[in-house]
């Protein structure tokens, strides 16, 4: 009761009073000024002059803190969108300054009345209002926020409308059960029966938030409204309803799920528009989860079967995409009887998009099969389809399969993997499409666990070599990234024998990105195989490049030293690397010289203070007087950085 009194008062007051106390002066300024508060845009010019005089008046009053708030409100109607947007974004400040009562009685009605604006401004407003509960006086008054949000929920622009619905959903939780029925639910009803599709679309997102907290009579009404929207004339509304079907089903009592939701689900799943039907597939997951096992066969499965064979590829794609969820929701029995054949069909679908989506799910689907006859199902039903996909005409399908196929080996065990999967892996390792090969190589760890990588290594090597020399640098880059992983799995011997040469060859690749990745790769290898290995195998080769006639290769030596010094440790760095770096300070190419300065700074922390003082410092000082300004700059940088780092080392030694 008290609520309605407040509400009535609120409406009367806001109609006759102005937004802010001294705006009342404005009203006295005459009809012209009054009019401009009603139609801001048309009277913009007059308003400007009024504002100017007004501001002087207010300024003269010597009240600084209050004045900008008025400006803010004034700017809510400025001609410039950006200024309106700025002030809308500071709406909470305005509200704080106004206080809860004025916010309720003045600011909100004002906002409700002037909702015609740029979508950008409306979006900001819709967002702000979702966080306004405390600013209007807490949950007791939260329903004051409904009128402006209701208007926003009916605008054309989807982004604004969605944001308004999001805010409405948020504040619905702050309503008391009584307020929910008195204020919120009527709003949902109004939206649900709006003339233009936008309001009905918005309503779809609001049913589920108020349903659990209202009386059974109101619940019945809400169900009725949802039902109406599911068969709305406009496909946009049906799409909105279909996308909220699962969410709504979750808050309904089980009996109503069976009686209401199922019929709606069936109807939407056979809608004339495929854009509606595919949304029903999403809902299918939630609905199937809610129902007891014994009802699934009669209530859900006919529709799901139909969806899996829909004439539109979009619907079938959706089924494939949601296959794991569906599988979990319907349980093992139905999976065995229905989903296995359905999955087979999707793997053989005529559209590549559908096949690729299904191929992506192969591993997950097999993993979730009931354990008792998982192996048998995979071997007799799934594997034959997988074999076909290995030689699919579409590279996306093959590469989707390659990204998951290795996972089957853990499920099928050693013998099956060797007999059935290995030939497939090997075939994919030779695929014409590099993506397919890369996807296989990147998942080697699964196979390694089951059969050991040795089984593959003979075929692996040519595949790796081929990728390593691919004409496309992105392919080379990708294979470099897998190198540390491969090295770990293949072991140091195999690596030294077969792969080391590749890794060194990348260092002189003509593409910088590859050289950079190769440098980083070396660092990771050293971390894996240790400093001693580094000293024997790679450091000599890296340092040898310091005498290369190509300055880019000489610089690569420096980059490698930067990356390796820490992993190799003080001994190697001081004894082997440092002399080379110092010698390169005499290089004729300026790029090399300033990179020497950078390297010295970089490896400084690894060196002992003696080497720093006696060897590094003189060289840096020499470089600091170089003829090239960049060399000078980096040498000075290094000296100042070096002092800092050396002093810390000195400190360390002292303590």
């Amino acid at each position: 009761d008290s609520c309605s009194v407040v509400n009535r008062g609120f409406v009367c007051v806001c109609k006759s009073r102005f937004v802010f106390c001294f705006l009342q002066q404005r009203r006295r300024a005459g009809p012209a000024a009054a009019a401009l508060w009603q139609k801001p845009r048309s009277a913009a010019q007059q308003r400007h002059s009024v504002t100017a005089t007004e501001s002087k008046m207010a300024g003269a009053d010597g009240d600084d803190s209050l004045y900008p708030i008025a400006v803010l409100i004034d700017e809510l109607r400025n001609e410039d969108v950006q200024l309106r947007l700025n002030s809308i974004k500071k709406l909470s400040t305005i509200a704080l300054a106004l206080g809860v009562e004025r916010t309720r009685t003045e600011l909100l009605p004002f906002l409700t009345d002037t909702i015609y604006d740029e979508d950008e401004v409306l979006l900001a407003l819709a967002e702000q209002l979702g966080n306004f509960t405390m600013l209007v006086g807490g949950p007791e008054y939260v329903h004051c926020l409904l009128p402006p949000l209701e208007s926003l929920a009916t605008v054309e622009e989807t982004v604004v409308r969605d944001k308004a619905v999001e805010s409405l959903r948020k504040i619905s939780q702050e309503h008391s059960p009584v307020d929910l029925e008195v204020h919120f639910e009527p709003l949902v009803k109004r939206l649900a029966s709006g003339d233009w599709f936008t309001s009905r679309t918005s309503a779809c997102g609001l049913f589920s938030v108020c349903y659990p907290r209202v009386s059974s009579t109101v619940k019945a009404e809400i169900r009725q409204h949802f039902r109406t929207l599911c068969s709305d004339d406009t496909p946009m509304v049906r799409r909105a309803a279909a996308s909220k079907l699962g969410e709504f089903a979750k808050v309904l009592e089980l009996d109503y799920v069976k009686s209401d939701i199922i019929s709606l689900f069936t109807a939407l799943a056979s809608d004339e528009q495929d854009s509606v039907r595919l949304l029903a597939v999403e809902a299918c997951v939630s609905i199937a989860t809610l129902l007891p096992q014994e009802d699934l066969e009669t209530l859900v499965m006919p529709t799901l079967r139909q969806a899996a064979e829909d004439k539109s590829w979009r619907v079938r794609y959706m089924v494939a995409d949601k296959f794991s969820e569906l599988q979990k929701a319907v349980g093992p029995e139905i999976t065995k009887n229905d989903l296995v054949p359905a999955f087979q069909n999707l793997l053989k679908d005529c559209e590549a998009e559908v096949r690729a989506a299904a191929a992506n799910k192969v591993k997950e689907f097999c993993e979730n099969l009931p354990e008792d006859n998982r192996e048998q199902i995979i071997m007799t039903h799934i594997l034959p389809c997988v074999k076909e996909l290995v030689s699919d005409t579409n590279q996306h399908v093959k590469s989707a399969l390659a990204s998951v196929i290795m996972g089957l080996s853990t499920i099928l065990g050693k013998d099956n993997t060797i007999e059935h999967l290995l030939p497939l892996f090997l075939a994919q390792l030779k695929d014409e499409c590099p993506e397919v090969r890369l996807n296989i190589i990147s998942n080697l760890d699964c196979v390694n666990e089951v059969i050991g990588i040795r089984q593959l290594s003979q075929s692996l090597l040519p595949a790796i070599v081929e990728l390593a020399e691919d004409a496309k640098w992105r392919v080379r880059l990708a294979i470099i990234e897998y190198m540390p992983l491969l090295a770990g799995q293949l072991g140091v011997e195999f690596f030294d024998e077969k792969l080391n040469t590749l890794c060194m060859a990348w260092l002189i690749d003509h593409v910088y990105a590859i050289r950079e990745a190769a440098t980083c790769n070396l660092m990771k290898l050293v971390e894996k195989f240790g400093a001693e290995w580094a000293q024997n195998t790679i450091v000599p080769k890296v340092l040898g490049m310091a005498n290369d006639p190509n300055y880019l290769h000489r610089m690569t030596t420096l980059f490698c030293i930067n990356a390796l010094s820490e992993a190799c440790g003080q001994e190697i760095t001081t004894k082997q690397m440092l002399p080379v770096v110092l010698k390169m300070s005499n290089d004729q190419v300026a790029n090399v010289r300033f990179n020497v300065a950078k390297s010295l700074q970089k490896i400084g922390p690894v060196l002992d203070s003696n080497a720093l003082q006696t060897e590094v410092k003189p060289v840096l000082e020499k470089l600091a007087s170089d003829t090239d300004m960049d060399v000078k700059y980096f040498a000075q940088e290094a000296i100042s950085g070096e002092c800092l780092s050396s002093s810390t080392i000195v400190d360390k030694l002292n303590t």
């Binding site: 001294f22 009240d63 209050l66 539109s312 989707a400």
Partner: protein, 542 residues
């Protein structure tokens, strides 16, 4: 010699092709390397071989067709039966991606379709009632299908080559046949409406999304014929087009047949009865105007502008809302679109009534003055061309006292500042024309130009200072941001002080209500504001 190079640039090799549903670490790795992955993805997809099929193949292999005798050779008593047989024969679908299988059958079907086209276009009396279901069945079997996934999800109709329908050799003849069937003098809508119904039209409309322009062109003519012949379907067709456009604007931003549908609408609007129904006005304001926001506006702007102008010629009172709508959606960053908008405005101004012009001139010319000052010379040039239009000139002259003050500042400024000499020359001409229209006003504006600019600058400064002050207020009031009640109290106090000092004695809310809004206070429940005021004063007391 290589000493000058600071760093090797990023390579510009062919990127690897990247699939639509492929999530692979190589991609993220390559993204780290350069920022052009999206572009490279598109490029890669362009190279994809066309391999989608629009037909849902049921895995049943087609039965081999055997040629039937020619219709013209059959005795007239058997012709009808043979016609039906041929229609049924043409229901067999073939896989056109496989160019080696069923060659003979494909050729038989092609020849039969040709014969059927010829048969319905040259012969009278062949459209007996029993033929209608057979004909529509043959048509629906052949053309109604779910369109295949786009070969290129980022298909840019302005740049990319469309994917052409593979089965076009047959499909073209089926479309041709449908058109001849509809245009046959014996065609009876009263019989046909049992088969060419809402569902038929619905499926036909969905085909407008085809990437193949040849197909869309046929569809356009066919839908236009259906709209003309089936009165009962007209409202339905309009509503469905409505839905397609709304989905295009607000949901998918993708539909290939917008231009074709607009072209049909252009001719439909022509025939609307006066006064216009609310439905039609709603379509104009809620569908056609928002269509201007579409990313690919260039593809259908001509047709769209034609529709809009058609509406305004029908009902001039729509001019004001239409122009306000265009101003609301005026492009902010896309100069090409801005040029299109200006073109449309000129088309509208060409047919505007002087009384309507008066209603809209202020907001419109504020926009035009912004366009004239646009640094993009094509936008400025397009706007300045308005002054070459005799009718627009006469409208401007009539309202020179309103328009000149709006335009003057921009024109005067760019006559001195614009980088493009052509624009400057055009602006001088425009200024001259305007001066001739009202010499005294022009002189006044010239002399007050500097003062006006200074005043504007000052206003701008004042605004900046105010915003700064506001930020300070927020900074100095951390409690105001964090603690609602506390911050509220401080501002409220300031508020009260202010009102006490000022001549208008507006204090806290109870006196305020009585003082100013006594009339309201009587009608409202007085207790509410009172109790509020009490609450506030206790807060203040703290």
């Amino acid at each position: 010699g290589d000493g000058e190079a600071r760093e090797a640039p990023l390579p510009t090799e062919q990127p690897i092709s990247v699939g639509l549903c492929i999530k692979m670490s190589a991609i993220s790795a390559s993204e780290k390397v350069d920022g052009f992955t999206r572009k490279s993805m598109r490029k890669a997809q362009k190279q994809r071989k066309s391999q989608g099929s629009s037909q849902y193949r049921t895995h049943s292999t087609p039965v081999e067709l055997s040629p039937l005798p020619q219709l013209k050779d059959a005795p007239s008593t058997e012709q009808q039966e043979l016609f039906t047989q041929k229609l049924q024969q043409c229901c067999m679908l073939f896989d056109f991606f496989d160019s080696v299988t069923d060659l003979k059958s494909k050729e038989i079907k092609r020849a039969t379709l040709n014969e059927l086209v010829d048969y319905v276009s040259t012969n009278r009396g062949v459209l007996v009632e029993s033929a209608y279901p057979e004909i529509t069945n043959m048509i629906t079997t052949n053309i109604f299908r779910t369109l295949p996934p786009s070969e290129n999800p980022d298909f840019d109709p302005e740049e990319d080559e469309p994917t052409l329908e593979a089965s076009w050799p047959h499909m073209q003849l089926v479309y041709e046949f449908l058109l001849r069937f509809l245009e046959n003098p014996d065609f009876q809508p009263s019989i046909a409406k049992r088969y060419i119904d809402q569902k038929f039209v619905q499926q036909l409309l969905e085909l407008f999304d085809s990437e193949d322009p040849r197909e869309r062109d046929f569809l356009k003519t066919i839908l236009h014929r259906i709209y003309g012949k089936f009165l009962g379907l007209r409202a339905f067709i309009r509503k469905q087009i409505n839905n397609i456009f709304l989905r295009f604007i607000y949901e998918t931003e993708h539909f290939n047949g917008v231009a074709e549908l607009l072209e049909i609408l252009g001719s439909i609007i022509n025939g609307f009865a006066l006064p216009l129904k609310a439905e039609h006005k709603q379509f104009l304001m809620k569908v056609l105007i928002p269509l201007h926001t579409a990313k690919g506006l260039a593809l259908f702007h001509a047709q769209l502008a034609y529709c809009v102008v058609q509406f305004l010629e029908k009902d001039p009172t729509l001019t004001e809302p239409v122009i306000r709508g265009l101003l609301k959606f005026w492009p902010k960053t896309c100069s090409q679109k801005e040029v299109m908008f200006l073109g449309e405005i000129e088309e509208i101004l060409d047919v505007i009534e002087p009384t309507q012009f008066k209603k809209i001139q202020e907001p419109l010319f504020k926009q035009i003055s912004k366009c004239v000052a646009n640094p993009h010379f094509q936008v400025a040039e397009r706007a300045l061309y308005f002054w070459n239009n005799e009718y627009i000139l006469s409208l401007i002259e009539e309202n020179i006292d309103k328009i000149l003050p709006i335009m003057f500042c921009s024109l005067y400024r760019i006559s001195k500042e614009h980088w493009n000499p052509t624009i400057v020359a055009l602006v001088y001409n425009v200024l001259k024309t305007l001066m001739e229209m009202n010499c005294t006003l022009f002189d006044e504006l010239t002399s007050s130009y500097k003062a006006d600019r200074q005043r504007e600058k000052k206003k701008e400064q004042e605004r900046d200072e105010l915003w700064k002050k506001l930020d300070e207020l927020r900074l100095s009031n951390p409690a105001l941001v964090q603690n609602n009640s506390h911050g509220l109290l401080r501002v409220q106090n300031n508020n009260n002080n202010n009102n006490n000092n000022s001549s208008n004695n507006i204090n806290n809310s109870d006196t305020q209500d009585r003082d100013v809004d006594s009339a309201v206070a009587i009608t409202t429940d007085e207790k509410e504001p009172d109790s509020m005021a009490a609450g506030e004063s206790t807060l203040s007391a703290k």
